[in-house]
């Protein structure tokens, strides 16, 4: 079984009638995702990709069995949309929104924790198990990236994930489940919190982590490896090795402050825990091969 999303996960799409919502709903279904219904306030009665649209999540779950919610909702409405899904008892939520206010993201993560739910994102493409299902926006038809296989991928980035995953595939591997944690300083779910799922997944042989400067998520992975929570082989690529200190490079979460969050620190922690760290994207595949021999 893949992790987080499988062919049996019944998905509700919030914001289904929008341009992105309807476009990616079509592709989610084409890949094999079980999308059961959509929500857009004011649009009940409409049909998108032969799916019923409801005003609210409560009205949608009253008539459909739902396991997960996929949010195509603008950043300033995301907190409300996540709370709405949690209120209806949905335990798996993915939000792609780029620009969720920091204090609201703290509230979202806090609420998810107290509901025992998992929110993936924001500022992410979502998650995909190639050949099975996806929640989010992935050009799964690009075969040199989204090839089915037995390597798990966790990432803080979008374009860089295409770059690195292409190198994993070039080395002869494929992807079991790819989870985009997102590029914000406060992601709904952290790298280390996904590890038990990958550990338990019998379709994942090894894990590739695509990280970058800033924060402590890579160090938390190293801790989980040290304490035995995660025991499968890990290869990592980290962006921002040569980034100037104090400057925000790209993602809001990608900044070194007061000596914390440096790539050197992350590499040292991961290597000490037994992971291999690639200097360049092109080396990830070969390092993975060595690690799996």
């Amino acid at each position: 079984m893949s992790i987080f999303i499988t062919e049996n996960t019944r998905v509700l799409v919030q914001g289904i009638t929008g341009k992105e919502g309807s476009f990616w709903t079509k592709h989610m279904i084409e890949l094999g995702t079980q999308v059961v219904a959509g929500v857009t306030p004011g649009k009940e009665g409409q049909v998108v990709e032969e799916l019923p649209v409801y005003h609210t999540v409560r009205r949608a779950v009253a008539e459909n069995d739902v396991d997960a919610a996929m949010l195509f909702v603008p950043p300033r409405f995301t907190k409300d949309a996540v709370f709405e899904a949690l209120d209806s008892g949905i335990k798996k939520i993915v939000t792609i929104a780029d620009g969720i206010p920091l204090h609201e993201m703290l509230q979202i993560r806090d609420a998810a924790k107290s509901c025992d739910a998992m929110v993936i994102g924001g500022n992410t493409s979502g998650c995909i198990s190639p050949g099975v299902a996806m929640m989010g926006m992935f050009p799964y038809w690009i075969e040199r990236v989204y090839k089915k296989g037995r390597i798990g991928i966790m990432t803080r980035s979008g374009s860089l994930t295409n770059e690195v995953t292409a190198m994993v595939v070039r080395a002869g591997f494929g992807v079991s489940s790819l989870i985009g944690i997102g590029g914000d300083p406060v992601p709904g779910t952290r790298f280390a919190e996904m590890l038990p799922l990958y550990e338990a997944d019998d379709e994942t042989d090894a894990l590739v982590i695509i990280g970058e400067l800033g924060g402590t998520m890579e160090e938390e992975v190293a801790d989980a490896m040290q304490t035995g929570i995660f025991s499968k082989p890990v290869a990592a690529f980290l962006g921002g090795r040569t980034a100037p200190k104090g400057k925000r490079m790209g993602h809001a979460g990608a900044i070194v402050t007061g000596g914390r969050g440096t790539v050197e620190g992350k590499i040292a922690a991961l290597e000490a825990a037994g992971a291999v760290v690639a200097e360049r994207p092109s080396m990830v595949g070969d390092l993975l091969k060595e690690k799996l021999q």
């Binding site: 780029d98 920091l102 204090h103 806090d110 690009i142 980035s157 374009s159 406060v186 921002g240 790209g250």
Partner: protein
């Protein structure tokens, strides 16, 4: 957005946090008037956004008018782009405390950090004396409770008169953190004066960029940026950083652009500018290339591997930009992702030689800089 000290202190005062008396001055004449109001001794504090102002000589204690005006003159004409000075009364300090409110991404709470040993960098203190740092997690929904502030205050001072003032300041600082959607609200140092008064000696307030649509108190002006180009790019919503090397980056995706930046450094090349035209900016190729061309760079390097930002649309944008701007330097393009076959066709028709491999593209750009082709 990081605010200037005088703005942070205004926000603190509005919330009821006492600060030393001060007047903002933009010219030497204004400094003279400010001194007349504040009196001696006083401190001239350069209003710049970089840290370590004391070490950089940007904060001066002055005791006479002649000395003050001479020093003000020097600060205004220094290389640090000092536009204004905060003329502040010098207070009799008996000790310095540290207090801040920030976000804790793991616990999903606000986090108060405090230390009776203020005045130094908190990260430094965390390294050398971690036991001296007080940490208090604050529920982001219900906010800081009085008992929490009291507990911190009595750990910072055993003197009830002082502790009561600190407690009130903590409650106010949390209010500022909330009200301004702050990433960080920090007072370092928080002065304890010889007469037992507590005052904010410095002020740092960083507003979350994602909340700027509802934080309208402070306008984003040129003063917040190191260069004209960074300011212009920010107004367009294009992430841009100015450097002084040879290669202009025009890439898509934060992680990929940062990686290309690393790869150029590995290959011995240098970067003129960091620019992302991915995400919502993927139709802004013309504007992005215009910014690159204003740099004194030798090559423009375009690397993308987009999902939502479609490769064919980016390629069309680039060809359009070349047609309009007629760049006077070589362009190395490596555009992959959604509809990449179309993209390659478009680029070839425009006479470019598109590459598929990021590292090959980086090597080619560095090589072009070396040969000057």
């Amino acid at each position: 957005m990081k605010l200037f000290e005088h703005q942070a202190k205004q926000a603190f005062r509005d919330a009821g946090i006492p600060t030393p008396r001060s007047v903002l001055a933009a010219t030497v004449e204004e400094v003279k008037a400010a001194i007349a109001e504040i009196g001696f001794p006083c401190v001239l504090k350069s209003q710049v956004l970089t840290g370590g102002r004391g070490k950089a000589g940007l904060i001066k204690v002055v005791t006479t008018e002649a000395d003050a005006l001479a020093k003000a003159e020097r600060l205004y004409s220094s290389e640090h782009n000092v536009k204004t000075l905060l003329v502040e009364e010098a207070v009799d300090i008996s000790r310095e405390i540290y207090v801040s409110v920030t976000a804790d991404p793991v616990e999903a709470t606000a986090l108060i950090l405090a230390s009776a040993d203020g005045g130094v960098e908190i990260e430094e203190l965390a390294e050398t004396n971690p036991e001296k740092i007080i940490r208090e997690f604050v529920d982001i929904t219900t906010g800081l409770q009085t008992y929490q502030a009291a507990d911190i205050a009595y750990r910072l001072s055993s003197n009830p008169n002082e502790a009561k003032q600190i407690q009130k300041i903590l409650m106010s600082l949390y209010k500022v953190f909330s009200q301004y959607d702050a990433e960080l609200a920090e007072i370092n140092p928080l002065f304890v004066t010889k007469s037992g008064k507590i005052l904010a000696g410095d002020g740092k307030l960083v507003i979350d960029e994602n909340s700027m649509h509802r934080q309208t108190t402070f306008e984003r002006t040129r003063d917040y940026y190191d260069s004209d180009m960074e300011f212009e790019a920010a107004q367009e919503g294009i992430p841009y950083l100015q450097f002084d090397g040879d290669i202009s980056l025009m890439c898509a995706g934060a992680g990929l652009t940062t990686t290309v930046y690393d790869l150029i450094n590995y290959e011995g090349g240098t970067i003129a500018n960091y620019l992302e035209f991915g995400g919502p900016n993927y139709r802004k190729a013309v504007r992005a290339m215009e910014l690159c061309l204003r740099n004194d760079s030798k090559v423009i390097l375009i690397v993308t591997f987009g999902t939502i930002a479609r490769a064919d649309v980016m390629a069309e944008g680039i060809v359009d930009a070349i047609r309009r701007l007629r760049p006077n330097r070589p362009i190395v393009a490596c555009i992959r992702g959604t509809n990449e076959e179309e993209a390659v066709k478009t680029l070839k028709e425009a006479g470019l030689d598109p590459l598929y491999d990021t590292e090959e593209a980086v090597r080619k750009a560095v090589e072009l800089c070396r040969t000057g082709a």
